[in-house]
Subunit: 338 residues, 2 copies
């Protein structure tokens, strides 16, 4: 919403963190600038075998539409993730379609006929698996505490400042989530808990771009054959009520810009409205797939990035919020430079 020319000028200037000579105000890097300055070792490679690559039929102009989904790592949702690997291996989604696009909610895909036979060997997962214990959390937390201290002296968090800005050791936003008692990041993923200690049960959160498993009424938990991606304000009321199995890391716009369905819940009413899925494969079966990496959520740069998202001090802003919700701190993911 900033006007075009001014912003571009401003962004170019900021890339070098200039100190405005006339008033000696501190100039803070923006969140993208912090990410751009993160060290190579702060990025974590995503294994191609943890990607689901979905090629839709080309658009009206013949342009390819590829959607790349990162599958969620252990300990979350691994029963459904295992099913998804089997469905991809069986080429089950080939020839199925996008069947539902509901504005400010989800895009959903799978077999519109609901009659396609599933491959053998899929497991039925329990509702208890909507959340998971994090045994390793306590160690990760100790490590992060140290890194948070270290970053006080690091290049990333100390652009040329005149006045020191106090940051809370644990920003208030962690404990001010309306849907949970605490929110955080774990191995690159946004998570939440209803308890107050590190040993609690945690679950992934329904942020923009997250991918989940369609299901019928409880106790059904879905197989993973019917999937959806979030394309609106985070529907966090679905947390713990439905399995999250991944997130779209590239090509989400091919889903979010589709025409909205006019039937109930945004289902398409006519067959010709449905976009065909030409193929869906695990990443290690795709020859030309670029490598992807995410900014490690236990890195100093991620902590600085999250702080900057919660306290915008770059020049456009006049009043930092002092907090952010977990879905307003999207984990940076990018193609790895060759």
């Amino acid at each position: 919403m900033i006007k075009k020319l001014t912003l571009i000028t401003c962004a170019a200037a900021l890339a070098t963190f200039p100190l405005a000579a006339q008033d000696a105000k501190p100039v803070f890097p923006s969140p993208p600038e912090i990410v751009a300055k993160a060290k190579a070792e702060e990025w974590t490679a995503i294994a191609p075998s943890d990607l689901l690559v979905m090629d839709l039929a080309p658009d009206a102009k013949g342009k390819a539409r590829r959607v790349v989904i990162q599958l969620i790592p252990p300990p979350f949702s691994q029963g459904w993730v295992g099913n998804i690997r089997k469905l991809a291996a069986a080429k089950w989604w080939d020839g199925t379609s996008i069947n539902r696009v509901q504005d400010n909610y989800v895009v959903q895909w799978g077999d519109a006929t609901e009659k396609k036979v599933l491959p053998e060997g899929l497991v039925t997962v329990s509702e208890a698996a909507y959340a998971s214990s994090l045994f390793e959390w306590q160690n990760e937390n100790a490590k992060r505490d140290k890194e948070r201290q270290d970053k006080q002296a690091s290049e990333v968090s100390t652009p040329p400042i005149v006045k020191k800005v106090e940051l809370e050791p644990y920003p208030a936003w962690h404990s001010r989530d309306p849907f949970a008692s605490w929110v955080d990041f774990y191995r690159g993923w946004p998570i939440a808990t209803a308890g107050y200690s590190w040993e609690q049960i945690w679950w992934p959160t329904h942020c923009y771009g997250m991918v989940g498993v369609g299901r019928n009424l409880s106790p059904d938990t879905g197989t993973g054959a019917e999937l959806y991606a979030v394309i609106g304000h985070a529907p966090r009321h679905l947390d713990r009520n439905i399995a999250l199995v991944g997130r779209v890391i590239e090509g989400l716009e091919h889903l979010s810009s589709l025409p909205r369905g006019t039937g109930p819940l945004g289902f398409y009413e006519k067959e010709e409205e449905r976009v065909q899925i030409n193929s869906a494969r695990l990443g290690d079966e795709i020859a030309d797939l670029p490598a992807f990496e995410y900014l490690s959520t236990d890195s100093a740069s991620f902590a600085a990035y999250a702080d900057a998202r919660a306290n915008r001090r770059d020049p456009f802003f006049i009043t930092p919020a002092g907090g952010a919700d977990i879905c307003n701190i999207p984990v940076p993911v990018r193609r790895k430079a060759k």
Copy 2:
């Protein structure tokens, strides 16, 4: 993400709040069912003069694309709203265009050339006007307290229940906002404050569909000629940094489903990508405009609806969240029945 056939069956059954005979579990109405049962007097009419009706060029199939925006009422942003009325009266947007579509963020429109002369008489608004005092709030709150008590006995909040569900008099979500100390609704709009008493300064929140005013770097606050609508997860870090002047109440899908721009910040790079705005007029200048109304946010039905959004107990859900963020409780707006 629920499977199509099951949900439709289920929704049809729920419309009569049946009590399942076999296990006598309580059956709770869903948020849309609560809204559908609200009394006629709980709805507030929206004056046509408070609407900005924007007709885009028809889509590729020749289908009309009308976007209806409700302008925000006093005490919020009235300097910019006044400018918008003048711009509409001057037909200033006619022939301008949608220039930017950034995924999970905003759609922005206005004069792509940035050279079109503005009408005379526009005011320059101060940054102080990003938030406002609510003198009447205290009375409204007392009224709501009474209504909250009344609703215990009302038809809307008491579907046939077997076990009483305890609701907090003030649900925790009001005070668990990561961007503010308190969030609430006022005259149909989501608002937030940084203080802890009713006399504080409040501001509207950047929820999905909200419309704001593009600006250059501070101290510029924008005129209202350059507008944007939120089409992603609520960018609440913009609250108090930019003026909110309304919300899209119909036709948002004509903006949110546009192709994403490929330039920086989602700006379209080629002129032919831009969708033209054929006209933008205040609602009282449109002959065939339907009447709109919103569910009064100080009504008992709205309180029950907000509680249900924060504590989903309808049959699909197994774990109610116990809270919701302010943007996850969208204010119901509909065409008024003739």
